[in-house]
């Protein structure tokens, strides 16, 4: 099967109308084959978009020929989150991507996907999870090339899909505390959804003013954007079956088209990178994790 481009779950708290527009354009204009939907970061956000618009968006994407996958919350602690996850797990006839171990309990022997926020570091863990129903694995951003290669080879043997993030800020940490609320002198319970003010996360810089990280509610992302165009063909040859582009506020139609052009061999990676460079993204591109060096590094192709 040919390698395919996917659009990962939108990690940010954009206004509902904006998300609706975003997914309409993805449905109509983007070459991605699969779209992951659903709130991954914060259970407080679900009434705004997921509860009101997810069905409509999923239907639109499906009509446009996209495969729709529902991603789960990543941090599940309080009763409300546990209930949300339980209900999410019980959806029938849907493709589900698990980002918290709690959901694995509910999904035993039912087909499901393993999300990029669950810890699958080696082929034994992959085989174990495949044995209880996992059909597809999105890999952790911090995995270096030898581990990606090993997992991709194991996936081939197990007949499961394997997906690697090739664009967008990398998820570096999760917390029980909301750092967006904290920055504004609030707490999670009184946050007033201040995370909605930052389209791509709230930038944290060092005391000597070097941009460093991006806060997104309880999640901490890299300041740099992963950009792995030049590595895609190598990874495809290893057996990576899907390449994930993460939603950001830049022109995502152009981003997904550029990645697709490179993946399908219509243009060279350098040309694709030049097209990304023209999008006006302020943050640098990085690919260090894959190359086994600090993640904030850009190793030239």
């Amino acid at each position: 099967m040919d390698a395919q481009l996917t659009l990962g779950p939108n990690l940010f708290h954009w206004a509902p109308e904006r998300k609706l527009d975003f997914y309409r354009r993805i449905a109509d204009e983007s070459p991605v084959g699969t779209v992951y939907l659903g709130e991954v970061v914060c259970s407080k956000r679900t009434p705004f978009f997921d509860d009101r618009h997810l069905e409509e968006v999923a239907e639109r994407l499906t009509r446009a020929g996209k495969q729709v996958v529902y991603s789960s919350l990543a941090e599940v602690v309080i009763k409300r989150e546990r209930k949300l996850l339980m209900e999410w797990s019980q959806q029938q006839g849907r493709d589900l991507e698990v980002n918290n171990t709690a959901a694995l309990l509910h999904l035993k022997d039912r087909p499901h996907r393993i999300g990029a926020l669950l810890n699958v570091y080696n082929e034994d863990t992959m085989a174990y999870l495949a044995g209880r129903g996992a059909t597809h694995f999105s890999l952790l951003a911090e995995l270096p090339k030898p581990a990606v290669a090993g997992l991709a080879e194991a996936a081939r043997g197990l007949g499961v899909g394997v997906e690697v993030q090739v664009f967008g800020r990398a998820s570096l940490a999760l917390s029980a505390r909301c750092y967006h609320a904290r920055a504004h002198g609030r707490i999670k319970d009184s946050c007033q959804f201040v995370c909605g003010e930052d389209d791509d996360g709230m930038v944290l810089s060092t005391l000597d003013e070097k941009p460093f990280l991006a806060v997104n509610g309880i999640q901490t992302l890299s300041y740099g954007y992963l950009e792995m165009m030049a590595e895609m063909h190598e990874m495809r040859d290893m057996g990576v079956s899907h390449f994930r582009v993460m939603p950001h506020s830049c022109d995502m139609i152009e981003v997904t088209k550029a990645f697709d052009d490179v993946l399908q061999g219509r243009i060279e990676a350098a040309e694709g990178a030049a097209r990304l460079g023209a999008l006006g993204i302020a943050a640098p591109f990085v690919n260090g994790f894959y190359h086994g060096v600090p993640g904030d590094t850009l190793v030239p192709a």
Binding site: M86, L117, N119, L172, A173, M202, L207
Partner: protein
């Protein structure tokens, strides 16, 4: 009233003996490689040291729990399996594990070896814990440091295994086992290599005005005046700038230490099975002091007496301490 076990850290055989002598019910320690999450130079045990230390602990009525609490990356699983084999052969009382493949290996090969689920497994709900209990026969879970006493009490009643909580030492709010911050800056992964903020990547820069910058990799993590005590540069304890704030602020958490001394009675009443003291990187003297203080405190509470905890403040990081998440959820 159940008397919780006191689980104490040992970075060296000498610290292990100190902990046992000071009244530890169990000591946790690891090998000199990436199979444990404190993989620092000068720490941890050779196989021969582990054998002798287990004998010492057992002779004195204490248990030894071996930390295999990191995640083997593809291609390196054999190292973790060897560490399991060795631990079983040496008669360890339990292995503390985080990775599914390691738990599965113990469950299949050594069904009599107890599995304790590490805090690095980030099991923070009854369902997540139940998954590990059902799949691998986990006997005890070490809870993340993000739960209130009442949440812990609810959990104890709901899950089919023992519960261990941290009561003293390092305090952070990032979900342990789900953090790549240090790897982003150093290239060394906390989960795969067993080291957060490795010393080789730390540097200190003095300015002419006497301020000291602490750095990790290419980033300034914090800056201290001439009269301030500089902390070790850990990303989640640093000061940063952001648009909505005037000047540097602790974006994640202040450099404070967890001290649950004042909530010990409530934790005991909640039915917690074991109390964990953090600090395998700490000195033998520290271990002796903290363990003996908590030993007498737990004994006093269970005997219905007033515990004495006055000296613990002096031992905490930066002299500042917190009850962490335990008392209220308003920190979230």
């Amino acid at each position: 009233m159940r008397k919780p076990e006191l689980i104490c850290p040992a970075g060296t055989p000498a610290a292990l003996r100190s902990a046992v002598d000071a009244g530890a019910d169990a000591v946790y320690c690891g090998y000199q490689n990436a199979t444990n999450a404190r993989n620092f130079t000068g720490l941890n045990f050779t196989p021969a040291e582990m054998e002798q230390s287990i004998a010492y602990a057992h002779d004195h009525g204490a248990k030894v729990l071996i930390t295999l609490n990191t995640f083997p990356p593809s291609g390196k699983v054999a190292l973790w399996k060897q560490a399991v084999d060795l631990s079983a052969q040496l008669g360890a009382d339990a292995c503390i594990v985080a990775d599914i493949s390691v738990a599965d290996y113990i469950c299949r090969m050594y069904p009599d070896l107890r599995i304790h689920l590490s805090v690095q497994a980030a099991a923070s709900s009854p369902e997540a814990i139940d998954f590990y209990v059902r799949e691998f026969g986990v006997k005890r879970v070490v809870l993340p440091r993000i739960m209130t006493v009442s949440e812990i009490g609810g959990l104890v009643a709901e899950i089919p295994c023992e519960v261990e909580t941290f009561i003293f030492g390092n305090h952070g709010l990032m979900v342990e086992g789900r953090c790549s911050l240090s790897c982003y800056v150093t290239g060394q992964s906390t989960n795969m290599d067993g080291a957060c903020s490795p010393a080789a990547n730390v540097s200190y820069q003095s300015a002419p005005d006497g301020t000291l910058s602490t750095r990790l990799g290419g980033y300034t993590i914090d800056r201290f005046g001439a009269n301030e005590t500089a902390g070790y540069p850990t990303i989640c304890k640093g000061r940063y700038l952001t648009d909505s704030r005037e000047g540097g602020y602790y974006a994640f958490e202040e450099p404070v230490s967890l001290n649950a001394a004042t909530v010990l009675p409530e934790l005991i009443a909640a039915g917690v099975h074991a109390f964990k003291i953090e600090g395998r990187q700490r000195s033998r003297a520290y271990v002796k002091k903290v363990v003996s203080t908590f030993r007498s405190a737990v004994d006093a509470i269970v005997a219905g007496k007033e515990p004495v905890l006055a000296d613990l403040v002096a031992l905490t990081e930066g002299q500042k301490q917190t009850e962490g998440a335990l008392k209220t959820k308003t920190w979230r």
